[in-house]
Symmetry: C2
Subunit: 282 residues, 2 copies
């Protein structure tokens, strides 16, 4: 290793593409190479734009592992036509995941349909949809990874709000078909999450581990509140230890949606993220 | 009852003062009289400004029941001087509650101190502080009512995020000294809340029932997101039934923090709130 070679990002560090979405896919692959980042989590829209086959070639040539594809889901529709379109779209997402060579499709369940106030019913519809999708995914080597989102997203984005709820859904299916995502941003407040991580570990259901920090005040709409590691309230090492103790040996994906990070040079933002990971997660 | 007499608000309907904070205390009392509202939840700052004794006289003369005083709490300080100040302030809040004739002091636990990432430790400090305050409150006929706030407030406002956590704290004390607040806005997403309401009912710990609707998108800072009844995603009748089945026979307090509501004529906003209560909670 020459003196100018970067030290390389930590093992099993993965950068979720949305964290540095100012980078095109080729620029992202290049920056990962320069910074020694070996894993990337990708998003459907940029993959579709670049092309599934071209993306597969790009990451293969760059020696990158695609740790997840974000995202499928949005399965809470009551209207049959809308539900059918959602299922079709999820089958397409599964095909894309297989096409770019990842075994993990992150699933965000979807919120309440307009005027609907029945959270419990919506969660059941998610279960019904997973039952239709899981075999299709399994045939293609893709596992559906249910991501509980913070309860502040329960009405408009994801009716699955806790790891406990996600596991209640996942456990209706074989563990190699449906798992869960542990994302510090969504679960950090939950005193039951440590026990649920252990529960997920026992059946090998931790499909992905994602990190972002919890920062306040939250911005309007709250979606872009995910903060750079170290800027907020989350004790990452405690969560890292919990997933490790649960037997998880996979990647840790940094997924941040943050206007400030997006306004900066993408490679610099990625380099900072690697450093923050060293300082706060390792 | 003459033809011009308003029909009167529903029995056990209480208006939390902050919902119509544009009204002075005398104007609030007058509007309550005109609209047949028999209960009010008050806040410390306007009570202090008007005077505790003057407030007591005003509500007594108006025939109003003070259903709660908001709020004590903010008990998570590590610094001894800061902690001591918080305890003093809470003793003052207890005195004020007793002075205005309510038996319920709503307690918002407080967030993480700056730079602190230990939610579990903060919750223990809340328990320690409650142990100091509960006897003082009991001597004055005041019950401390722990309010779990939505998990989106965990870092900056309230480390107690679920009814389960609130009950874990409350049950360290006799039920007549420490209870919990069930607020639909904070618990509506929680699939465990129905069982926790039953648990709270079994030991007579439901000290207050508050309602506000969940509306999105959330505003920046999220504090003023509480929406008018019927504008959002909450099935109020389901929650009303749960607290009733748990044996709660007390007031239902409408507590909304909302810029739009505050910008309107206070009496009109109160009248609308009564109507919305009839339409969505009764």
């Amino acid at each position: 290793m020459s003196a100018t070679t970067p030290p390389g990002a930590p093992a099993r560090f993965s950068i979720n593409q949305e964290t540095v979405k100012q980078l095109s896919l080729p620029d992202l692959a290049k920056a990962c190479g320069e910074l020694g980042v070996a894993g990337v989590g990708l998003w459907r829209a940029p993959v579709q734009e670049y092309g599934v086959e071209a993306t597969a070639r790009l990451v293969r040539d760059a020696g990158l592992t695609v740790t997840s594809l974000c995202r499928g889901g949005f399965l809470t529709a009551v209207d049959p036509a809308e539900r059918s379109r959602a299922l079709d779209d999820n089958r397409a997402a599964i095909d894309e995941a297989a096409g770019i060579g990842t075994d993990t499709l992150v699933m965000v369940s979807g919120g309440l349909p307009a005027g609907d106030r029945d959270l419990f019913g919506a969660r059941e519809r998610v279960a019904d949809a997973l039952a239709e999708l899981a075999p299709y995914a399994a045939e293609r080597g893709v596992r559906l990874a249910i991501e509980p989102l913070h309860p502040m997203f329960a009405s408009d984005r994801c009716v699955v709000s806790t790891l406990g709820q996600a596991l209640d859904l996942a456990e209706r299916f074989p563990a190699d078909r449906v798992g869960v995502v542990v994302d510090t941003y969504h679960v950090w407040w939950d005193d039951r999450a440590p026990a649920q991580i252990a529960r997920a570990g026992e059946t090998g259901r931790i499909a992905a581990f994602q990190v972002a920090d919890w920062c306040t005040p939250l911005p309007a709409g709250v979606l872009l509140g995910r903060g750079q590691l170290g800027n907020g309230s989350i004790d990452f090492r405690a969560w890292r230890d919990l997933v490790a103790e649960a037997g998880y040996t996979g990647w840790t994906e940094v997924e941040i949606f943050n206007e400030e990070l997006w306004a900066r040079d993408g490679r610099e933002a990625l380099a900072e993220t690697v450093e923050r990971f060293r300082a706060h997660v390792l």
